[in-house]
């Protein structure tokens, strides 16, 4: 038998190395390998939300499903031939459900204002692209634009009962959207944002409408065309009288409209 004498001193460094290596191994097993090259997880964009009022008794929702099932924003005739079938297929059943749910529930929840939106989503991007399917807008961006639109209502915050509810604003918005023939093929259409201030008669007809940016109206023929399309929407007999609560004239005798085709480009 051969015996090797082991010198205690010579063993010491290798012991330490071994212990150290084991420790590292244990740590790696416990925590996993350190990630060096993977990029840091990107920050999730903050989801803004606003507190908005829904009228206690809001009739817009209940009516909507019926309305929407019947004339679902008639698409331009040529569109029908080319658009994929999902256009009709997608949102219908959901809306039916929504309608029933609402009828049984006396108090509508703050959700409904969005329920009507998917309907118009498939028309949101009007420039045609045959090859790639258009991205359907994500609910998040939808919520975002919703809240953006609602911002003015909350900013000044008079007493709750004095102002139009989000449902009432939404009803007016949807009415005008159906009458606005937008300039989508124009050059730099995303820059053609038109602000119009209207004075409304007590009978809810438009008394006068004024384009805010008059100087641009005089110099830019594209802007003038866009501005006139906005005026035509407001004067359109189909959109007269305006859908406004008759009893609160003070709240809507003067309305500031912004026409922005951004959701359609």
């Amino acid at each position: 038998m051969i015996r090797t004498t082991i010198n205690d001193d010579s063993l010491k460094p290798s012991l330490m190395v071994s212990a150290g290596a084991h420790l590292v191994l244990l740590l790696v097993m416990f925590f996993g390998l350190p990630v060096i090259f993977k990029p840091l997880p990107s920050h999730r964009p903050p989801v803004p939300f606003e507190i908005v009022e829904i009228a206690e008794l809001t009739n817009t929702r209940i009516k909507d499903p019926e309305l929407q099932v019947k004339p679902p924003e008639p698409p331009p005739p040529k569109q029908e031939t080319k658009k994929p079938e999902q256009a009709q297929a997608m949102p219908q059943p959901k809306q039916e459900e929504q309608a029933e749910a609402l009828q049984t529930m006396p108090k509508p929840k703050p959700k409904p204002p969005e329920a009507a939106k998917p309907k118009s989503d498939e028309f949101s991007k009007l420039l045609k692209n045959l090859e790639t399917n258009k991205k359907v807008e994500t609910p998040k961006s939808e919520a975002k634009s919703e809240s953006k639109q609602a911002t003015p209502a909350t900013s000044q915050a008079p007493a709750l009962s004095d102002r139009l509810t989000i449902s009432e604003e939404d009803a007016l918005r949807r009415q005008i959207q159906q009458c606005w023939n937008m300039p989508i093929g124009a050059r730099d259409a995303h820059n053609l944002i038109v602000e119009v201030i209207i004075n409304v008669n007590p009978d809810r007809t438009v008394q006068s409408a004024e384009i805010v940016d008059k100087s641009r109206m005089a110099t830019d023929s594209f802007y003038r065309a866009a501005a006139e399309s906005a005026l035509r929407a407001l004067y359109n007999p189909r959109c007269t009288p305006l859908e406004l609560p008759a009893d609160r004239y003070d709240q809507w005798k003067r309305i500031n409209f912004t026409f922005d085709p951004r959701d359609m480009l």
Binding site: K78, F123, Q149, E169, A186, R187, I197, E228, N256
Partner: protein, 450 residues
């Protein structure tokens, strides 16, 4: 001066300053009660043709016939653009000269007419016609525009196009494109032995005229952006060369004396140069020729196929197709040949890029998955969209306002292979066939007529 006096002056200065400051503020408050206004953002709308009423232009005697025809051409032009829909004349409640005095807007509103074009044709003592029209905004009850023209009776069709252009421009903000012509290659004979002649017509398919006799095969005609001149490639005595042709004089000349084939010509935006390809040992490169000095400059120098060059409307850049990267793609370079960069990165092969006269887009032909597509992309290659697809579609050409494209489609080859011209709106809608008496290919849109 005492201390109290000083303090007093300072005090009054401050007071005046404050007063001045408040004076500045008062109008700000007065003019913006808007802060309490109800605010509504409209970010969606509909896209449908604008309903427009175009009653026959009023006239007596012979002029009445012209009045009717002119209104008809105006109506057809506007409807074909896809942006307008004409209201059925049978529903009109007001016509004749009472319209010229004052339209009854309430009646037109009932028909949902948003615009109303009212016109009059008068025979002049010298035999000419005076055509005048007014465009009314029915909802706002205001005149939008009004113009008058004098013309020979034979020219009535052009006047109608000019009127349609004026209406189009006033309502959409963009220049019209109705008073334009299109050259194309007229194809006759059996599929395996076609006679290809140069032909020209109005953009609506009227006034067709054959320009060349058919002895030479003519391909890829292109309009000069500044005058009534065409450049094209033709096979004379089996030698493919680039030619220039003046429509008014009928004069034709060959561009440059090269031993090799020259092809794919196109004018520069100022009309003074032609950019084209010259084949060299199986490859081809892009050249430009100054039409006044006939000086030739080589722009690309790459052992690959570089062809189908087209200037940007400002003349600063040239887009072309090249297979230098392995597959056929679209590139953009400065007009002196420097700074070449690839802009198309999709699957498939891209060819014949054409810069929009508006400058914002490049139209192209794409072959992908065995199908042809006509598409557009922004000049940096982003935002690619396919507008139409077919078994074989090629040769996009822009209307001078950069809003509409024309191209040709061919059916699968066979005995009765057909080739027809089509136009399509930039948005991808409103595709329409342009009726031509023969089979047709390779359309080229003229600028607005001078």
């Amino acid at each position: 001066m005492t201390g109290t006096q000083n303090a007093g002056i300072a005090h009054s200065m401050i007071k005046n300053g404050l007063l001045f400051f408040f004076c500045l503020l008062i109008p700000a408050f007065l003019s913006s009660p808007a802060h309490a206004d109800l605010k509504i953002d409209i970010t969606r709308g509909v896209v449908e043709p604008i309903p427009v009423a175009i009653p026959a232009f009023y006239g007596t005697g012979n002029a009445a016939r012209y009045g009717k025809d002119i209104a008809e051409v105006v109506k057809n032009d506007l409807e074909r653009s896809g942006l307008f829909s004409a209201i059925d004349p049978r529903s009109f409640v007001q016509d004749g000269d009472s319209l010229l005095v004052a339209p009854k807007f309430a009646d037109w509103r009932v028909l949902n007419a948003q615009a109303l074009a009212v016109g009059k044709v008068e025979a002049q003592p010298d035999g000419r016609l005076k055509v005048e029209f007014r465009l009314w905004d029915v909802f706002a009850e205001q005149q939008m525009t009004g113009l008058a023209y004098f013309t020979t009776p034979a020219n009535w069709r052009r006047v109608a196009h000019i009127v349609a252009d004026a209406i189009y421009k006033r309502v959409t903000g963009e220049d019209g494109y109705f008073d334009t012509r299109v050259v194309y290659v007229s194809e006759t004979g059996p599929a395996n032995n076609r006679t290809k002649r140069l032909a020209i017509m109005d953009q609506d398919g009227e006034n067709n005229r054959i320009l060349s006799d058919g002895r030479a095969m003519v391909l890829t005609p292109r309009f000069s952006p500044t005058m009534q001149e065409i450049t094209y490639m033709a096979y004379y005595n089996n030698k493919p060369r680039v030619y220039r042709f003046n429509i008014d004089t009928g004069r034709q000349d060959v561009l440059g004396d090269f031993s090799n084939m020259t092809f794919a010509p196109r004018f520069s935006p100022d009309g003074n140069r032609v950019v084209f390809s010259l084949s060299e040992n199986g490859n081809s490169n892009v050249y430009t020729m100054d039409l006044r000095t006939r000086r030739v400059q080589k722009l690309t120098d790459h052992p690959s196929i570089n062809t189908a060059p087209c200037y940007s409307p400002d003349g600063q850049y040239i887009t072309f197709e090249s297979d230098r990267g392995g597959s056929q793609q679209i590139y953009v370079m400065r007009s002196n040949g420097s700074d070449v960069r690839r802009i198309s990165f999709g699957s498939g092969r891209y060819g014949t890029p054409v810069w929009s006269p508006r400058g914002d887009l490049i139209a192209f032909t794409k072959l992908s998955g065995g199908r042809f597509y006509i598409g557009v992309m922004r000049t940096d290659g982003s935002g690619e969209r396919s507008l139409t697809e077919a078994y074989h579609a090629e040769g996009p050409t822009w209307a001078p306002n950069g809003r509409v494209l024309m191209f040709f489609k061919e059916s699968p080859s066979g005995r009765d292979r057909s080739s027809r011209l089509y136009s399509i709106d930039l948005t991808g809608y409103n595709e329409r066939e342009i009726m031509t008496p023969t089979n047709a290919s390779d359309p080229a849109w003229s600028p607005l007529l001078p």
